[in-house]
Point group: C2
Chain length 235, copies 2
Amino acid sequence: MSWRKEERRAERGYHHGNLKEALLQAALGLIAEKGAAGFTFADAARMAGVSPAAPYRHFRDRDELLSSIAQRGFEQFEALLTQAWDDGRPDTVSAFQRLGKAYLAFARNEPAFYSAMFESGLPVDSNATLLVASERAFAIIRAASERLAALAPPGVPRPPAMMMALHIWSMSHGVASLFGRGDAARRKLPMSPEDLLEAEVLIYLRGLGFPTDRRPEPPPVPPAGGASGPWGASR
Amino acid sequence: MSWRKEERRAERGYHHGNLKEALLQAALGLIAEKGAAGFTFADAARMAGVSPAAPYRHFRDRDELLSSIAQRGFEQFEALLTQAWDDGRPDTVSAFQRLGKAYLAFARNEPAFYSAMFESGLPVDSNATLLVASERAFAIIRAASERLAALAPPGVPRPPAMMMALHIWSMSHGVASLFGRGDAARRKLPMSPEDLLEAEVLIYLRGLGFPTDRRPEPPPVPPAGGASGPWGASR
DNA sequence: TGTACATCAGTGAACGCGCGTTCACTGATGTAC
DNA sequence: TGTACATCAGTGAACGCGCGTTCACTGATGTAC
């Protein structure tokens, strides 16, 4: 492939033109291949067809590149979740399920972003803008939970939306990181991660007293009358 | 600390006596400190006070050491879960909750093992005995789910135990890996990971139609009569 | 009980390697006049 | 429209470092007789 490098070099001339972007893409590829741990500043440079010193014009060090990726990942993640949620259309519960599917789809289709975001070991609060990006993504789940909580049937205590959101997030993340990645040597499952998560969320919602009748199924569970939530009084 | 090394060396003489064990312990310490990715064969040797060539008497390479750790981790994990489950005493639901707590306790108290087991990126099926150890640990959750499923109240369809087990596992793993680790820079929570997971599991179980009345609370939710489970027919 | 010898666990020096980082440099680009 | 100059992005050579791995070796231990 060295001709490739030459060709690139020839094509682009002395200046790369868009090295920052190229480095991000290269790193993304490398992370997807070898995991967030096994990617190297020098490797990224090599892949972008540029000398090992060049990246220093754009990133202070490896960590800054990595957290740029994580940040961009959170932004794309947020966009995807926003789109999936679609402001709760056509109905809150099914939009909620789409959210879960979108979560898994992201983990599956963008394993490199997902690693950088959740498994790279970089401290979330090292970088303020990274933290913000991460919070904005979570805010979508939070907002969806809020909307869903507000729909609690009469007689059912309204669950704290924050807690719901954390529950949904942990289910999604759990399924995604245990079963939802492309990498060959994964645990075998009797069903797809998507179905697994969908069932999990539906059972959970039913446990909160929500009717989960949009599924092609027999009569919905009648809301449990008057019992308070299992985490204590609602607020 | 070089006197320490000398002292050790003086104490033990030419032969270490228990180097294999010492290397495992050293690696465990290093992983806890810097994560599974940032631990080094040479580092482990140094920490055990031994030349960098010595570890090769006991492990083919870094990966073999790492997977030994993962294996041992799964064994301890299994032991802990078995103890927590305590064969379903005093009652199935509370034993089930203890299982969840034990899961989190393990992730919190043994972050190095947990990393090696779930985040080290070593293919689960690379090593047959590792795979077995991992499956034996999961089998505890599976067995507990089986027992719980068998207790489904009359009129409630019996949920597939395998699916239940996978759901519980994903919740536990999700909470543990998002919120349950010691490492300083973690996300802030309005409640403890333990409480978060406990509530999550309880709501889930209620969603399956189980009474969750062992909590200090008002009247239990009456089992939802006759509705089939949200994942379709029971089997 | 003592001696000879085989086996084993750890030594220490050496190697090649790739990484991160620095440095003075140079080619390209844009802008002021 | 052309020229001089400042700025900028990338070069390539060099460095020190620590890692993984190998090798012939040697000190310690155990065992046969």
